[in-house]
Symmetry: C2
Subunit: 152 residues, 2 copies
């Protein structure tokens, strides 16, 4: 898929959540006028683009908002899958390193190290949805293994 020639995204339940979360993190309404297609476009970062992105200094606020929207959308999908509240927590250093966790009750259902946050993005929207599915399914499987901690 070449995003520059498309005007819609794949039909995947994750897309609607991504749009919702991306709008939620747009605190100042800067992107209010954008179509859903334009709104999600910045999540697509090709290998060539990635190579050109510097990883010095602080990742800018726009990238941090996208990173948080992405993992918040994952939390919402986990919530939809298990029926309990899923809460993301981000710990980001100024150098683009960090960690994100998602908890359900007292259970850590997702725990990822982050690096090169400056370059956060996906090759394609299909790739983004695929990775999200993988993370959501892994989280739901952890909940099935430890239902008591998830309910605590």
């Amino acid at each position: 898929m070449n995003p520059t020639t498309e005007t819609t995204w794949p039909d995947h339940p994750f897309i609607a959540e991504m749009i919702r979360q991306t709008r939620a993190f747009d605190s100042y309404g800067v992107h209010e006028q954008l179509s859903p297609f334009e709104l999600l476009q910045p999540y697509i970062v090709t290998k060539a683009q990635r190579r050109e992105m510097p990883i010095i200094g602080d990742p800018d606020e726009e990238i941090l908002a996208r990173l948080k929207a992405y993992y918040s959308a994952i939390a919402m999908r986990i919530e939809a899958g298990c029926g309990s509240m899923a809460t993301p927590l981000f710990s980001l250093s100024h150098e683009g390193f960090g960690r994100v966790i998602i908890s359900v009750g007292k259970l850590l259902v997702l725990d990822r190290s982050l690096r090169d946050v400056h370059r956060f993005g996906f090759e394609s929207m299909d790739g983004l949805c695929e990775q999200a599915d993988t993370l959501v399914n892994a989280a739901l499987s952890i909940i099935r293994q430890h239902p008591d901690a998830a309910a605590a």
Copy 2:
């Protein structure tokens, strides 16, 4: 206890860990010359002092280092009590709000909202140790309730 007239701290296992962690967070060795007594002195904030501390703007780096040293010391005591690695994670906003969690395996053994981080401190060192004991014991109790998630 009036810390200004004391030159030692109470004999409590948490104190040694606090000294270790406070030194660990002193990345630039600014406090290298301080005695253990002087090193922990800034953790004591009386009610009167607290009232005078402004809570606008960013909490300064020294306060953040103390906050992180305190919860890292708690993580170390949890680790000593259960024999598994305990990892703290901090998520702090610029306005002195935030959340700290400590995880053991896939189990959240501590989960606290933080506010007024600008005023982080304790009435006395006995009070600090007492709160630490309470948090460590609560964490160890959670581990006993969900041993499978803690071992995952």
